[in-house]
Amino acid sequence: MAFKPVRVLVGKIGLDGHDRGAKVVAQALRDSGMEVIYTGLRQTPEQIVEAALQEDVQVIGLSILSGAHMQLVPPVLEMLREQESRDIIVIVGGIIPREDITYLKEQGVAEVFTPGVTTAEIIDFIRQRAAGHE
């Protein structure tokens, strides 16, 4: 079977303009051989899901530092369920308090990456979790 690279959508959800982390992660994933689609700023949950389905990605990485994660991440998970795209893995990066991480994971977020995480850790996580899809 031919090697097929993992496809990842990196998205900035909400109005937050801090895209340093999202861009560094996107570039690191790309350098590791993954196919990366970066959405740019100010995406709504609807736009994220639409782009993910259109681009046929296995992973959605949402970056958010504005504190609106509790309102903006669950709708993404819900829409994916509605679209029966449960197999798309959703990961989140940003400034997310610990109790919110627990909640987001209960809702179906695969992992939450907070400040201090290395891009290597994120790459490893994606490789392990998305391996079954290759």
């Binding site: 790309r30 709504t44 400034i95 308090p97 201090g116």
Partner: protein
């Protein structure tokens, strides 16, 4: 010829020392290569020979005099300390007003307003895109009524206020003026700053609304209007802070900021303003990052470059037009979520570099900001850090205490050269606006950000608690809890204001604004009328969105 003799003797002595050094190095090699953030090697020592032909008056001059390398005031902190100005704002206007009054009671000397993202992007709190964002990263302001609450019991003739607001700066400034008027304060008594720096929003901060050309018109309208009506207001704070936070180097921070400044000056000149009319009210905002001496030299070099640019390139005559006055904030991106109390030390050193660099005002970050918005206790520690620097450790007792240090002067010269080289490059591309449209600035920042992250990951750059001296488990720390009902209350308040105002007057004010926006009149008076009639921020920006269109991001990766 004693000077020549001295030099010869110095060269001889240095050579002798170097020979001894060779042997010492064989026994005890140095730990590693040493480099500045910008890639330049750090020399083992700096001495008089490092300096070349050093003309004191030309390069340094006297404090308060051109080219202002040693500071913009003749007595600097001996006369008055910098303004201690903590950026604050969250939730409702009422909560933020309480935090402001607390900070003033604790000895803070100026206010700095953080607005939430819907406010910064010109959406009312009930707009669908405001979902989840109301009151989060700052205070929600929808109408003049919110601004009245925000500034209640704050003496606007005595406290200066900085507002981090860019695309809708004209609207928030109009609201501030309207509140001052209601407090009975004459317009020439209000003091403060609006950030009003759109160019860095496109490349680093992200709260743009309109396309560049239309945004520049709004900015120049503010320059012209403020020059006549609010003479003590800083009409712009040209910001390198966010460029640095987005990942640039110190040199890029200074270069891109000054290139943006050049673009604003040129836009104002094209609109027919006189350089010495608006330039004295231009102000700046820089980052105080981790490399202590590099940061100090950056501040000093930038001051000198700006003075020369204003005098030589733009023909400014007034000293005040040539003075680079700036606010500094410690580098948020250096704060760690791990072992957060260590951030107190980072912030203290960064703040000290800003003071040794001659800042006019300062924000010190709180230790818990990689985890959440800062708690009241953390903010207090951050403010106390400034007070220790200002009152206890003696660094404010003489002007520019590091002036004349071989190292600092050499580094100041080096940064100056490199920054000028970058500015030339941007000039050749066609100036800051074109460089942004082409994605040049964005790519440069992105490349530096990526390199920085790689350096941390491969251990070349040590971050205590991240890649060295790590500890397992989190230190517990009390974080600020946001009231989840803020958004609902804010939307209700907005509804009440919409119902209680004179709808006819609002409609007429917005209609007039639309007409003026289509032409080329100064928009400030129209915005002021709309604001006074309690038109909402979203309504006013909505009219301008209709007429100006919206900016589409240039995505570079």
């Amino acid at each position: 010829m004693t000077e020549q003799n001295n030099k010869d003797e110095l060269i001889r002595a240095r050579k002798e020392w170097m020979e001894k050094l060779e042997k010492a190095l064989e026994k005890h090699p140095e730990r590693r290569e040493f480099k500045f953030d910008t890639g330049l090697s750090v020399e083992r020592i700096y001495d008089p020979l490092s300096m070349g032909e050093f003309a004191y008056p030309d390069r340094l001059g006297w404090p308060g005099e051109y080219p202002f390398t040693r500071g913009i005031q003749p007595t600097m902190y001996r006369g008055r300390l910098w303004t201690m100005r903590q950026y604050a704002g969250f939730g409702s206007a009422e909560e933020t007003n309480k935090r402001f009054r607390y900070l003033l009671e604790q000895g803070q000397t100026g206010l700095s307003v953080a607005f939430d993202l819907p406010t910064q992007i010109g959406y009312d709190s009930d707009h669908p895109l405001a979902r989840g964002e109301v009151g989060k990263v700052g205070v929600a302001i929808d109408t003049l009524a919110d601004m009245e609450t925000l500034l209640e019991h704050i003496p606007l003739d005595r406290v200066s206020t900085s507002m981090t607001i860019n695309s809708p700066a004209a609207v928030l400034l109009a609201m501030y003026m309207a509140v001052a008027e209601k407090q009975g304060i004459p317009m020439d008594k209000i003091k403060g700053t609006i950030q009003n720096d759109i160019l860095k929003e496109y490349v680093a901060r992200g709260t743009y609304i309109f396309p560049p050309r239309e945004s520049m018109r709004l900015i120049v309208d503010i320059f012209a209007y403020a020059g006549k009506h609010i003479p003590n207001w800083n009409t712009i704070s040209i910001s390198g802070y966010h460029i640095r936070e987005a990942g640039s180097t110190a040199i890029q921070e200074a270069a891109f900021t000054l290139s943006n400044a050049i673009a604003y000056v040129e836009a104002a000149l094209q609109a027919g303003l006189e350089i010495d009319q608006f330039a004295p009210r231009l102000s700046f905002f820089f980052n105080a990052h981790s490399n202590f001496f590099e940061e100090i030299a950056k501040f000093r070099a930038t001051r000198r470059i700006w003075a020369r640019l204003m005098k030589e390139r733009f023909g400014a005559k007034k000293d005040r037009s040539m003075m680079l006055r700036f606010h500094t904030q410690t580098a948020g991106c250096t704060l760690t979520a791990q072992q957060p109390d260590v951030n107190l030390m980072r912030v203290a050193f960064q703040a000290l570099s800003a003071v040794l660099g001659g800042t006019q005002s300062l924000h010190t970050n709180s230790r818990d900001e990689a985890l959440a918005l800062p708690s009241e206790h953390s903010v207090l520690l951050a403010l106390r850090t400034q007070q220790v620097i200002g009152y206890e450790i003696g660094v404010t007792d003489t002007v520019d205490p590091l002036g004349g240090s071989y190292f600092i002067e050499k580094l100041t010269d080096h940064i100056e050269e490199e920054v000028i080289r970058y500015i030339k490059k941007i000039d050749e591309i066609g100036g800051a606006v074109v460089a942004i449209e082409k994605g040049f600035i964005q790519q440069e920042i992105q490349a530096s950000a990526y390199r920085y992250q790689k350096e941390i990951e491969n251990g070349d750059r040590v971050v205590v608690g991240i890649n060295k001296f790590t500890m397992s488990g989190d230190q517990p720390i009390d974080l600020l809890k946001m009231d989840p009902a803020v958004s609902k209350r804010q939307v209700e308040r907005l509804k009440e204001v919409r119902l209680s105002r004179n709808q006819g007057q609002v409609a007429e004010a917005l209609q007039e604004l639309r007409r003026a926006a289509r032409g080329d009149e100064n928009l400030m008076p129209y915005i002021l009328t709309a604001v006074k009639n309690y038109a909402t921020l979203g309504e006013i920006c909505g009219v301008l969105r209709d007429v100006f269109g919206e900016y589409k991001q240039h995505i570079t990766l």
